[in-house]
Symmetry: C2
Subunit: 227 residues, 2 copies
Amino acid sequence: MKRVKVSNNVIRRMPRYLRMLDELMENGVNRVSSFQLGQLLGLTPSQIRQDFSCFGEFGQQGYGYIVSALREQIASILGADRGYSAVLIGVGNIGRALMDNFCFSSWGFSLVAAFDVNPALIGTNINGVNIYSMDDLETYLHNNKVDMVVLAVPKDVAIPVTNMLTANGVEAIWNFTNVDLTAPNSSTIVENVHFSDSLLSLSYYVSERQDEKAARAARAEKAENNQ
Amino acid sequence: MKRVKVSNNVIRRMPRYLRMLDELMENGVNRVSSFQLGQLLGLTPSQIRQDFSCFGEFGQQGYGYIVSALREQIASILGADRGYSAVLIGVGNIGRALMDNFCFSSWGFSLVAAFDVNPALIGTNINGVNIYSMDDLETYLHNNKVDMVVLAVPKDVAIPVTNMLTANGVEAIWNFTNVDLTAPNSSTIVENVHFSDSLLSLSYYVSERQDEKAARAARAEKAENNQ
DNA sequence: TAGATTGTTAATCGATTAACAATC
DNA sequence: TAGATTGTTAATCGATTAACAATC
């Protein structure tokens, strides 16, 4: 597989391709063209072919792509076939929701341990994942290969915990705290999940829609009065 | 406020500005320049001024921006000052995590009701929000102004529930199911939250990093052997 | 006033789309 | 073979950055 510098826009589309290919496989489709994929995803065929071409040649002229083969290629590009290990820190509601609902394994990852400060949780087990004391985290990190940390601790301890993690060699953080970890720890790869950003974007488009409606209504009323 | 067509990229940055301004206010900062904001957010001052200029003139030459005033302006642009009402559908783990942890009100929204099929939940109350039966949802939508729906139902009922919602006038969906609702219901505004997409993006960058390391190691070994 | 920083126009850069030869 | 669809190059479009006059 090629490893040239690929734009973030492309990277963000790859998981969508993967999901769509999974869906096609579930539906027993075994061949797809860039045109069809584009229709399904609301993208142009050109863009899809450009995206794929960043990583190699996965199709066949005059035929298209074999769904299962393309699926494997994209999974591989995204590292979803490397069995990366993840550790969850903070078994509050979000952490718990992830343990209960998010199927790490179906994306090729394995959640190997969870950590919390709550004595009621320590020593228990959710979905086969043991919950350990935060006090044992540092030792754990030294004795185990941890490819990524899922950070779901309360906002106010996000920074100190992150500092501890990076000091202990953690290189990737999937960040569910409401704190932006992007800037500070340069060498650590951080993926921020900000619910509020997502909701506010939605809210913007709702406002836009409502303002348009109001403007239309105002125009209609004015026209009415001018009769 | 201006309402010209603004690119999605700009809209996605606005909530980040809002969060940063909130943080500055918490820290008692009451004045900020585009240069400082840029440093804090990892953006260029140019871009920040360009972004703001899509909506109006919020600064003062030679001085910068008054944090609280700018905060209000951006909140208003995003519709975070309109008291939009939201209804949660599906009180599973994700739904519950949102009810417990996500502070709708701090972003100007109010969660007015929740719905589920589980008899053990129906009639109960979480954080002041009543949980009703799904059977009552349609009636509820007819009798109440619902600006957005938070969709946190299981994957397999996502499509039928969505169809029911749009049929009953719901225009905006904050979608936590793993189904892409983007394409089909054209007039409905959908914001998809896909945990897997986020994780896979992170995974890509982790893989890239590890491949670089491996390549470096291979080169080093080769050099060693050539000694 | 001098220094700072805005809002905006112009220049650059990058991403998307279109077009087409290659070929299955 | 004829039709279809890829991978890739070139053209277009849009987003970011640079520059600077306006002005607090």
